[in-house]
């Protein structure tokens, strides 16, 4: 290896390149932002993606459920549609380019096959998405055999690379993404031995849960924890424990850890952007402003995770704020923190200003039967809203109708579950 000294200087040879808006991440949120900005006439809109192909997670979601009721699409088709829209509108989408770190208030160091480059922008949008927590991050004990996947890796292995997976698969989780993982495993010719969830019910539509159980005969083990991975070399099985203390061993050669999403917030953190302690993504207000002036955030990095449609809508929404900034609007505006109390886990956006119109999304840690949410500031009830039964890992919506009542000189606004 050559010495350290000679190298560092060289990467700054090229002067920074200027663009109007730099968007990091070419998933649904990033592409939608780019399309909207370019349509609105912003000349130099550039989207970077570190992958070799644009589209984000939908690239490898070969199931339906994307697009609209009238125009349903698979994930890859949806990704192509968004990419085409952005490029036709005049945005530049560059793949195989990694945004490494900040080079100034609104500048990023990047690298790709063409070498390093610093890009400076009038506004930056972080649309870096979210990933599933892998086995280690969930502290699942046992050996470290082959055959341990997340949904993201499984879908890419099967749909993008045509790789073989094992023959007997256990899916950990019972939310939408878990059922998608089970479908992918079946596509690859594997038998789904069981699905396992610590909760007392599946966290998907009744139709989907029934379909898996009755048509595909996949047993769902509720109230069940995965306690150990077994096997040297290849996975040979897993141990599970039911809430009532019973234990069992399931023979399988593949296990897929699904859900438990965490934002990919590295760039945000390296830029000193304040994070929301609940969602762990950048804290933003209704205009999707982060704490760093000129830096916006949109998509699953804010709320791990919502649907691609939500991310797309958010892209359009963040574009409006970017346009205002480019037109000379003030960045800073008074906001107060928006917090949730247990059993609610997080809310996004998580700062609030009067006049914010963007609807909120929340998550709960426990099942709530027809809950009533209270929005309170300094003991003052701003809003209450009854919801349908809320289940962990599924979206809980909350309107923004109440926020003209917020006192920006007051304390934090809290969302709580009213006692029945």
């Amino acid at each position: 290896m050559d010495g350290a000294a000679e190298v560092r200087g060289e990467s700054r040879i090229r002067p920074p390149r200027e663009v109007d808006v730099l968007i990091v991440g070419a998933g649904p949120a990033g592409l939608a932002t780019a399309a909207r900005l370019a349509v609105a006439g912003v000349a130099r809109v550039e989207v970077l993606d570190r992958e070799q192909h644009a589209g984000g997670v939908p690239r490898h979601c070969h199931h339906g459920g994307f697009g609209t009721w009238t125009h349903p699409l698979t994930g890859p088709a949806y990704a192509r549609l968004l990419l085409t829209a952005a490029v036709r509108a005049g945005a530049v989408v560059r793949t195989g380019i990694t945004a490494l770190d900040w080079a100034g208030p609104l500048a990023l160091n990047t690298v790709g096959a063409q070498g390093p480059e610093t890009i400076r922008a009038g506004a930056v949008v972080l649309a870096t998405g979210a990933r599933e927590r892998p086995r280690a991050a969930r502290l699942v004990p046992g050996t470290r055999p082959n055959g341990v996947y997340t949904t993201g890796e499984l879908q890419q292995a099967v749909h993008l690379h045509g790789q073989r997976v094992g023959t007997r698969v256990v899916v950990v989780g019972a939310e939408d993404v878990s059922y998608a993982a089970a479908d992918t495993a079946r596509t690859a010719g594997a038998q789904v031995v069981a699905m396992v969830t610590e909760l007392d019910r599946p966290q998907t539509t009744t139709a989907r849960a029934h379909n898996a159980r009755l048509r595909h005969r996949v047993p769902l083990l509720t109230d069940t924890t995965l306690t150990e991975l077994l096997g040297h070399g290849r996975l040979s099985g897993i141990r599970v424990r039911h809430r009532d203390g019973r234990t069992a061993q399931l023979d399988c050669d593949t296990v897929v850890f699904t859900g438990d999403f965490v934002p990919d917030h590295e760039l945000a953190r390296r830029g000193g952007v304040v994070l929301d302690p609940g969602a762990r993504g950048p804290a933003v207000d209704g205009a999707l402003h982060t704490s760093r002036p000129g830096v916006f955030a949109a998509g699953s990095v804010l709320h791990p995770v919502e649907s691609a449609a939500t991310a797309t809508r958010e892209g359009a929404h963040v574009a409006a704020g970017v346009l205002e900034l480019l037109a000379g609007a003030e960045w800073s505006r008074p906001t107060v923190p928006l917090l949730v109390d247990p059993p609610l886990r997080w809310i996004a956006p998580n700062r609030v200003a009067p006049g914010d119109e963007h609807p909120y999304v929340l998550r709960t840690a426990t099942v709530l039967h027809r809950p009533i949410l209270h929005v309170v500031q300094d003991g003052r009830l701003l809003h209450h809203e009854g919801l349908r039964t809320a289940v962990p890992n599924r979206t809980l919506p909350l309107t923004a109708r109440w926020n003209h009542l917020v006192d920006v000189g007051g304390g934090p606004v809290r969302v709580t579950v009213a006692r029945a």
Partner: protein, 469 residues
């Protein structure tokens, strides 16, 4: 250059065969490679070098300040530490001399610090000194409350254990040593002054035999009729925290050993993570490299006291390694001249640090037992791919990317590993035979996503290289 992983072993007899391709076995092979008149082999049970204790440890390059003064271990750690630091610098093995702090959390530990400082002096290490809480907290602002003082050992360093083992093996193989993988030794006989090893891949003959079988050194020793020591596998579970935690810590935080045993350490890694561990569990099963709920809970509890903010960070990996503890408090390196055999047993957690000195010591013992080493040559230097954050990685090197764009094409995003590095590893002298082997050579898939983004793409590159498509 010969590395074999299947098929029958060569029938021609070797002069010296080393059993075990861990860091110690590979260091011995490298030292013997300097003697071109010797025909040398390494036989390894697993499919890669460094697959036992050498891959799952705390990755610390020790000064030897706390060894048992006067012991063989103390001398070899002292010598080996200096040698490895020099070797690492010339071979591109990442090392960071971050220094260690032995933090005292109670009066008993505080009272032990001066004795440790004296012990360091007896081990010819003069730089250890006591520091008071204000300096301790100035050095480590994120340290949990309640520390009473510390012993500062500035020479303690962190190192890449995988690259070290691989560098030794690479040099040895390039110089003509045969490395035979997937060859667990099942029996040892002796015929006409020659050892006959029965392995899973057939027999192998050798005039001299070196036992560097790590956890299995006692078993091999018994095959040769000795009953000198017993290896008790001591399991150490470790938690690797996200790189975003790296700034929480500047030094290695070592526990103060007391009558109640050793605590856990928190240390940076050369890859830019923080490491918490190890547990110390004496077991009987030499394959018990699994983590346990109790072990992980215990580590998190101790970590919360030492560095509270650490527990808020994401966990990147969990692993468990087995150290070769014996009933004696020193290495068990013994020459058996009548058998043309040297046992290198009981190399505990200091084996990485001492490896080069152990190799020189063992080579001298072989000469004492009658092996004619022949003339020595200098080995061609080896330049290992850099896995460390303190040195420029390929993606940071504009001139390298300009010459070959593959070094600007990132595949593993969390660890910023390029296609160029993966390609190089797959075509290297001692190539990986599994995705885990590729990870240890490049860090691909070793990051926070553990393959969510890149796992399938990395597997694709690996399979392409293996099938030659």
């Amino acid at each position: 250059m010969t590395v074999t992983a299947n098929g029958p072993l060569p029938s021609r007899s070797y002069d010296v065969t080393v059993v075990g391709a861990g860091v110690v076995g590979c260091a011995i092979a490298r030292e013997l490679a300097r003697r071109p008149s010797l025909r040398v082999a390494v036989v390894e049970a697993q499919d890669d070098v460094g697959q036992g204790t050498s891959k799952a440890n705390t990755a610390i390059l020790h000064t030897g300040f706390d060894a048992v003064p006067g012991s063989l271990e103390a001398r070899l750690v002292r010598e080996g530490s200096r040698q490895l630091a020099g070797y690492a610098a010339e071979s591109g093995i990442p090392v960071e001399r971050v220094g260690a702090l032995l933090v005292a959390w109670d009066e008993e530990q505080l009272a032990a610090l001066p004795h440790l400082a004296e012990k360091a002096v007896r081990n010819e290490y003069g730089d250890a000194h006591l520091i008071e809480p204000p300096e301790l907290y100035a050095r480590e602002p994120h340290l949990g409350p309640g520390a009473l003082g510390a012993l500062h050992v500035p020479g303690e360093s962190i190192v890449c254990p995988w690259t070290t083992t691989l560098a030794y093996a690479t040099q040895a193989v390039r110089q003509g040593v045969d490395l035979h993988l997937n060859s667990p030794v099942e029996q040892v006989g002796r015929r006409d002054g020659t050892h006959v090893l029965t392995t899973a891949r057939g027999t192998l003959r050798t005039r001299w035999l070196v036992n560097a079988a790590g956890l299995h050194a006692d078993t091999l020793d018994r095959h040769l009729g000795h009953d000198d020591f017993t290896v008790t596998p001591r399991r150490g579970q470790l938690i690797v925290f996200d790189k975003l935690a790296r700034d929480l810590l500047h030094h290695i935080l070592l526990p103060v050993p007391t009558a109640l045993g050793k605590g856990v350490l928190v240390a940076p890694t050369v890859y830019g993570n923080l490491l918490l561990g190890p547990t110390a569990e004496d077991l009987h099963d030499k394959r018990a490299t699994g983590s346990t709920a109790e072990g992980l809970a215990q580590l998190r509890e101790k970590g919360a006291r030492i560095l509270p903010a650490l527990l808020d960070e994401e966990i990147t990996a969990v692993y468990a390694g087995l150290r070769a503890a014996t009933d004696q408090d020193d290495y068990r390196i013994t020459a058996h001249p009548e058998q043309a055999y040297v046992t290198v047993g009981g190399i505990r957690s200091t084996g990485l640090t001492a490896s080069l000195a152990i190799a020189a010591h063992v080579t001298a013992l072989l000469a004492d037992t009658g092996l004619d080493l022949g003339p020595a040559v200098d080995l061609a230097p080896v330049g290992m791919p850099n896995l460390g954050e303190a040195y420029p990685r390929p993606y940071q090197r504009a001139e390298l990317i300009a010459a070959d764009p593959e070094y600007g094409t990132l595949v593993c995003h969390c660890e910023r590993v390029t296609r160029g590095e993966i390609r190089d590893a797959l075509a290297s002298t001692v190539p990986p035979r599994s995705l885990d082997g590729l990870r240890r050579r490049t860090r691909a898939r070793a990051g926070r996503c553990q393959g969510f983004y890149c796992g399938a793409a990395v597997r694709e590159l690996f399979e392409e290289a293996r099938t030659g498509t």
